[in-house]
Amino acid sequence: MIVTAQQLIACSPLLILLLTVIIIMLFIAYSRNHFVTFLCSMIGLTLSLMSLYMVKRTVPINITMLFHIDEYSLLYTSMIVLSSIITCVFSYLWIKDSFYNSDEFYLLLLLSTIGCISLIIANHMSVLFIGMELISLPVLGLISYTYCTKNSLEAAIKYMILSCSVSVLSLFGIALIYSITGSLMFSSLIYELVISLAHPNIILLCGLGLIVLSFSFKLSIFPFHIWTPDVYKGTSSTVLTYLSTATKIAVFSVFFKIFIFLISFHVEFFRIVLEIMICLSIIFGNFMALFQTNIKRFLGYSSISQFGYLLTSLLISDDFNFSLEVVGIYLVSYLLSNIGMFGLIGLMSSLNKNMTFETITSYRGLFWNCPILSSIITIILFSLSGIPSTIGFIGKFYILSLIVKENFWILGIIFVIGSIIGIYSYLKIVTYLYLEPLVDNGQEKFVFNYTKKVYVLVLLIISVLILLLGIYPNIVIDIVSNSEPIFF
């Protein structure tokens, strides 16, 4: 097996991160220093983000038979690395104040990022499986990082048991596919589907179904969503910045690549199941979000409905370029608003040691104490609910136009009802921000020192970006529409 220099270059984001992991491990073995570890991981992540520019010239390219890199995977890789960078930034202060064993956090984060990237560029079932496991095992460590706090271990155990059982199922699915095709390459799967177009093999479809099931567990689509609110509640908000964005984006990008084939070969069963799942996710997620008092649980439920909206992009008949744009734009908006929201919750918790800012009532009257943070939350929540002049609206606009284009009447009605319920539940939080503050909600003690001002600046940039891209979305549209996958 010969690996050319070009292939090595194409692999460089992955390699840089691997190198960073090794360097950090060596540092830990030598002497523990939180700041150095932080710096190392930041440099590693930034370098791997910059190396994407170099990779852009070599794509599309196959690296051995395991990986396949094209413009599509570059886009999602950059989104994931961005999310990891922001998570690093926000975790610095949190970890410095709270923990003795601080360096392992970055190690786990980087390992999970490597898992995400390898999942995105996977071209082989084994990479798919290893990537999924490489995402979820370090995340398990991250979830249980605050093992002293109340719900943390519960969340970790819940995530572990469910995730492992689903992994086993997906492994079984891969085995079923292997039993038919005799190869683990994606292309052989496609080949098998093409030649048995009229009567697809049942075992093959069962295998695919099991893989899709494991994807929908990771994305918390309706029947497999049970873990989401509890895990969100037990996890610290800094980890959630990563967990809610990077893992889901990575899984979705692969899900999209595989599922778009099932649809384009008109496997009717999958389409019907998917439609039911979308409708129930949208309704259920939005409806349950209405009754939440904990803001993390709320965001967990809202992410169920967000991915419900997003899955609509898979239900297309012919022109998959359009749904590619839908996915890109929607994920960009999802990334920005979720990073912003969880970063903000983390920042506020670090501003006041006695409060965790997890209940919605603790945000009461924030506007009167700290107008800048409350306007950031307002912009982010409006973007999540899809109100014009935010990037969230552009995403919603894309999905609605897809629904109109494909004439999904029922889905359209569900979409409208769901988003009206959704807007109401987001608005409830926004209203809390502008009520008169209660005396004992501990917000008067906000003091911004130098590092915290940097954090506020980062959040401000994110919210301005949300607004700017909402008003002038051409930039994102151009990037997204130019990065289409080249299949196998």
Partner: protein, 512 residues
């Protein structure tokens, strides 16, 4: 570049007000006033320029002013602004009421005055955007975005009820308004997308442009569906009876200037949009459903006039009366008659003026008596100088007495509608009695009758000069329109002709 300036000036002016707040509070006042005066002068200049050139072209784009630049080229969305007489008259009214709003908030807003003016000017800027935008996406954009400044205005400066649970809080009603607007917006967005998509399917031109979509021919079922979507969206904002419940609550809990704005400015975009989009884009189905819509209007008129009787809060009473008047407008829109159309504009304008004046006077009254409940008022006539007299004038104008603009508007609407729908007009004419009764009850309970116990019977003399100037200006304008309505009619004559020709043509083809 002329038309974007109209949107930009108040937009950036608002930001200026906000920035200069910290130096001196008075500066924000003067900046806001200056900006709206510039706007008024500009829009009047536009109308003068407009009336000089009249050249009838039927199928060409008939805009007097146009601005077009690409925006989101992926969807064929352009930043397309255009103005004809109809838009210009709305511009004049918006900027005029803007000045009145600024003047009326002169000494009343205590906290965050810069941010208040930011919101106020943004409301004006976005509503001007609604009147000028011709691209449907742009229209929708302004239609939705105008909600935010209103929402913040209501949440931050609204009427506060002390020691009451959450459900009667102003935030609750601000949310209610927001939800209604969002429902309206989502329905509108879906309908616009359906329209654009069906245009794309038939012609393979992906465009949100009104001028392009105007020539579309749809199959009847689809046209009906889309038309109903548009109608529902505008209906919620006008509002028509089953969807009206946000308006009285909104008026009750919004600040005085805020409700002055919404009565004057926010009800008009929906009327404008019905005229501009619903009629022109879907002439056939509008014609088929016109009877049903007109009866909706009749129900609106009678229902809300009756409900306004039972109100004890003056502001709610006026709010219900304004819903009732919107029923007239709906009837006129679907009467397909040119005189009625002219009536709509005159009626909308003069109604906006008289209602704003009434809200303003109630705001003053509230300042002196600290109540809006009519049960605890009474016998105020001799205690407060000026205000009762003005209130009487505007209440009488509101019920449409000859000599005021309201009379001209109502008369033209009824006259125009009578040609085709005589029975309906006969029924509607009875509502004038109810609305007259409402106005009189309001005046009687507030200013005449027995003095109630719990008011301080001090003679209130120290009324500032602004408090007299504002109602005087409004009254003068109202009477001027009443006596010489041609000045308004001339401005939009030509553009109304255009709208009317479009559906007359289509009705002819329908009948064939």
């Amino acid at each position: 570049m002329l038309l974007p300036i109209f949107i930009m000036i108040p937009f950036f002016g608002g930001i200026l007000c906000w920035m200069f707040e910290k130096y001196n509070i008075k500066i924000s006042h003067y900046i806001a006033l200056m900006i709206m005066s510039i706007m008024l002068i500009l829009s009047v200049a536009l109308s003068l320029y407009n009336s000089q050139i009249v050249f009838p072209r039927m199928y060409d784009p008939y805009w007097d002013f146009e601005y077009n630049s690409p925006w989101i080229s992926r969807f064929g969305i352009t930043f397309h602004l255009a103005a004809d007489g109809l838009s210009v008259i709305m511009l004049i009214l918006t900027s005029f009421l803007g000045i009145i709003s600024i003047l009326s908030s002169w000494n009343n807003i205590e906290k965050n005055i810069g941010f208040f003016y930011l919101n106020l000017l943004w409301i004006l800027s976005f509503s001007i955007g609604i009147f000028l935008s011709i691209d449907l996406f742009l229209f929708f954009f302004f239609w939705e975005i105008i909600i935010f400044p209103i929402y913040f205005m209501m949440v931050l400066w609204g009427y506060k009820v002390k020691n009451k649970p959450m459900c009667v809080n102003r935030n609750f009603f601000a949310n209610k308004f927001f939800m209604y607007s969002q429902c309206s917006g989502l329905i509108l967005l879906c309908s616009i997308l359906f329209l654009v998509h069906s245009n794309y399917v038939s012609t393979h031109i992906l465009s949100f442009d009104y001028d392009v979509l105007r020539n579309i021919s749809l199959n009847p079922f689809l046209e009906t569906c889309i038309m109903l979507g548009f109608f529902l969206a505008f209906c919620i904002k006008i509002p028509i009876v089953p969807f009206h419940s946000w308006l009285p609550d909104f008026h009750t809990y919004s600040p005085i200037t805020g409700s002055l704005d919404i009565s004057g400015i926010l009800l008009k975009p929906a009327v404008y949009a019905l005229l501009r989009f619903n009629i022109v884009l879907f002439p056939h189905s509008s014609y088929i459903y016109s009877n049903i819509f007109m009866w909706c209007g009749v129900i609106t008129i009678f229902y809300s006039a009756c409900v306004s009787f039972s109100q004890t809060d003056i502001k709610r009473l006026i709010a219900y009366m304004s819903i009732s008047h919107m029923g007239f407008v709906l009837i006129a829109i679907y009467s397909f008659n040119k005189i009625a159309y002219q009536g709509i504009i005159v009626h909308t304008i003069s109604y906006a003026l008289s209602t704003s004046a009434l809200y303003y006077l109630i705001g003053r009254l509230f300042k002196y008596t600290r109540t809006r409940d009519m049960r605890s008022m009474g016998g105020l006539w001799s205690d407060i100088i000026w205000i009762p007299g003005f209130s009487l004038c505007f209440a009488v104008a509101n019920l449409g007495i000859p000599g005021t603009g309201n009379f001209v508007g109502e008369f033209m609407i009824l006259l125009g509608t009578f040609f085709n729908h005589s029975v309906l007009v006969c029924i509607v004419a009875f509502s004038l009695i109810i609305s007259a009764l409402c106005s009189l009850v309001m005046i009687q309970k507030t200013y005449f009758g027995l003095c109630s116990q719990n008011r301080n019977s001090i003679l209130i003399q120290d009324i500032s000069i602004i408090e007299i100037i504002i109602p005087t200006i409004l009254l003068v304008v109202l009477i001027f329109i009443g006596l010489y309505p041609n000045i308004i009619l001339n401005i939009f004559e030509f553009s109304l002709n255009n709208i009317q020709t479009i559906f007359l043509n289509s009705i002819l083809t329908t009948r064939l």
